[in-house]
């Protein structure tokens, strides 16, 4: 078994609203990512995907607050570390982040190379300017970005270029874990492809050791990641390999989510798109039982009282449901 790069145990984080209410956007999340692997996180808007991404950084700004749980990166527990220590020794070097809105992620009045200097000096003020420039040039060359990008202001770059520049900057210190929060959502398909290729290259070249890829575009996840986790209302409801999750989802919510995919393939014009009825629960007051119970077509009375833990299904899969795999398969067959 290969080395575990990221281990998350019972991570819970909350937003404290203006009226002092707590919203647990990430609730008791546990999972592992092995070296060389990429894990996708899918789920509808507001399910906590992006909050999970930020929570994993171990660096919290109001209104987001850490509540409990462990984040262990390559054997080192970063939860509970001094924030300044996290800033200096973890962010960017151990775990790095590609933001959702890379369009505005760079300071508009600072040249790309100046920002790279700032990033590197924030972690090691002793590195010489020349070393930084050499590193940046080398990285941009291997990642197929034009070298003159370094001397440009962000406003002079196109959307796709900006996103690829941000990815190069995020990974410049070779982090062990890369968290990509919808890095390609705002791009056209050609730029999207380049971004995805770049992410593959990063992994192959060893610039990153593992990755978490967040998106609401499921077909994209199938292409990019080894495993897929489905999140619902701040919790992980199912995890399996990309193949299993796309073609053979077990949890009723995953099933519903995969049923909503639109793919431009033969015959799909006539396939009826199913949508999951209802809306996710209010996380200020989550239900006692299963969080999906309200919207689940296979709901039983017990579901509304008792919340299940993630349980192994064999084959390395896990799911959070009252019903067994057999019961669920039986139910799906009868549809």
């Amino acid at each position: 078994m290969s080395k575990i790069m990221l281990e998350v145990n019972g991570l819970t984080t909350k937003y404290i609203t203006r009226y002092n209410e707590s919203v647990y956007a990430v609730n008791d999340v546990s999972f592992q990512v092995e070296e060389g692997k990429s894990v996708g996180i899918a789920g509808e808007s507001g399910c906590g995907k992006s909050t999970l991404a930020l929570s994993l950084m171990g660096y919290y700004f109001p209104p987001l607050h850490y509540t409990k749980g462990d984040i262990i990166i390559d054997g080192r527990n970063i939860s509970g570390m001094d924030p300044d220590d996290v800033r200096k020794n973890i962010l960017g070097t151990e775990i790095a982040y590609i933001p959702q809105a890379a369009m505005n992620a760079l300071n508009p009045t600072r040249k790309v190379i100046r920002f790279i200097e700032d990033v590197i000096w924030a972690h090691d003020p002793k590195i010489s300017k020349k070393d930084i420039h050499d590193l940046a040039r080398e990285r941009f060359e291997t990642l197929n970005l034009p070298e003159d990008t370094l001397n440009k202001y962000p406003v002079e770059l196109s959307g796709g270029m900006k996103q690829r520049t941000v990815i190069s900057i995020s990974t410049i210190l070779s982090p062990k874990v890369l968290i990509a929060d919808e890095p390609s959502s705002a791009l056209d398909v050609t730029s999207q492809k380049m971004v995805i290729k770049m992410i593959h290259d990063l992994m192959e070249l060893g610039y990153i050791k593992s990755m978490i890829f967040i998106t609401h575009e499921l077909p994209l996840l199938y292409n990019v990641t080894d495993d897929i986790m489905v999140m619902y209302a701040g919790q992980i409801v199912e995890r399996g390999s990309a193949d299993q999750m796309i073609f053979d989802p077990i949890h009723p919510y995953s099933k519903g989510l995969m049923g909503s995919i639109l793919v431009p393939e033969d015959g799909t014009r006539d396939v009826k798109i199913t949508a999951i009825p209802g809306t996710p629960p209010n996380l200020k007051k989550p239900p006692d039982g299963c969080r999906f119970a309200e919207r689940c077509q296979y709901v039983k009375s017990q579901c509304r009282v008792q919340n299940m833990e993630l349980a192994g299904l064999g084959n390395g899969r896990t799911s959070r449901c009252m019903m067994s795999e057999e019961e669920l398969r039986e139910a799906y067959k009868n549809e």
Binding site: R87, K88, Y97, P108, T109, V119, V155, I169
Partner: protein, 335 residues
């Protein structure tokens, strides 16, 4: 720098176009005003002369002297020619003193008062606004109403308040003038001290009215920039907060520079009013005297000088703005 050259050329062309427009207006406006200035001079100079023939002769001799007997177009070219030689004509009320001489005496007082006052007011306002945005909480809540109040007071109101409180009631500062009456301007400690004492109230009244508006603008710009995506991304790349605050305030300053360029005309106007209230020996007070005494050459000379100063200030600010904001250059490049 190619983009900047284009920007600079454009700004310089605009500067000359507005300058020509100002000169034409300055030439035309006094001539469109009702009343005959020469008749006014005659009535003052020739109080004891009753012979109509002598009066007529005097009238014609003045008309000739001021060039008013020639066609308007010719007058205009003579005017421009004189202007280029620094000759603004002769004052009516202090005849035969040249207007340029009167202005040359008043100008140092005005520049010495207004330039530091506007710059100090602008800087203090921006620093206070930035602090309010960064600290928030009590500081912001206490400061903003004061700033709104100060920004709302008209220039003469602030001058009168300061005059009443500090000089009439408390007797801390002299009521009027640029230096103690009876003193002959020369370099001595007594004279310098007297200048500083007379300087305080007009200076602070201009500073205080400039602070308010600037602080309010800077506060909202800073709050906007503090929530920008690049702030979040920079934080997650491990850059120190102090550095990020530097980014934020630099970017928030940019619209403030434009704001200064836009409001400098109004600021100079307000400062002239402050001069009048404190009988400061600058252009404002001279302007008021010129209006009272129907001294058209002096009036138009002062108006022209003020216009040129404001145009110059706006031009300088535009040039600076192009240097500090790369987006301006990029925009020129795209055209």
């Amino acid at each position: 720098m190619k983009g900047y050259g284009k920007y600079f050329t454009k700004k310089i062309i605009w500067f000359f176009i507005t300058l020509v427009a100002a000169i034409i207006l300055n030439f035309a406006l006094p001539r469109l005003m009702p009343g005959d200035p020469v008749a006014m001079i005659i009535s003052r100079v020739a109080q004891n002369i009753n012979d109509p023939a002598v009066l007529r002769q005097m009238y014609e001799s003045y008309m000739q002297r001021f060039g008013l007997d020639r066609p308007v177009i010719e007058q205009f070219f003579i005017y421009v020619g004189n202007l280029l030689q620094g000759d603004l004509g002769l004052s009516f009320s202090r005849y035969p003193r040249p207007v340029s001489d009167i202005i040359a005496h008043a100008l140092p007082w005005t520049i010495g008062l207004q330039l530091p006052a506007i710059l100090v007011g602008w800087t203090l306002g921006n620093v206070l606004g930035a602090l309010a945005a960064y600290i928030r909480k009590g500081f912001d809540k206490a400061l903003m109403p004061i700033m709104l109040f100060m920004g709302g007071i008209p220039a003469f109101g602030m001058a009168i308040i300061l005059l009443t409180v500090f000089s009439l009631n408390l007797g801390l500062f002299p009521i009027a003038g640029g230096f103690e009456q009876g003193l002959i301007p020369h370099m001595s400690w007594r004279f310098v001290f007297s200048i500083i004492q007379h300087y305080h109230l007009p200076f602070w009244s201009i500073v205080l009215i400039s602070i308010g508006g600037q602080a309010i603008g800077m506060r909202s710009m800073s709050i906007y920039e503090l929530n920008a995506d690049y702030v979040k991304y920079s934080r997650y790349m491990g850059i120190k907060d102090r550095k990020i605050v530097g980014y934020v305030f630099r970017n928030a300053m940019l619209p403030q520079v434009t704001g200064l360029a836009l409001s400098i005309g109004a600021m100079v106007g307000g400062a002239l009013v402050a001069e009048i209230i404190f009988s400061y020996p600058g252009l404002g007070t001279t302007l008021l005297q010129a209006i009272r005494e129907g001294d058209y050459p002096l009036l138009s000379g002062i108006a022209l000088i003020i216009t040129v100063m404001v145009l110059l200030a706006v031009f300088i600010l535009d040039v600076i703005y192009g240097l500090i904001d790369p987006r301006v250059r990029a925009a020129q490049y795209e055209e």
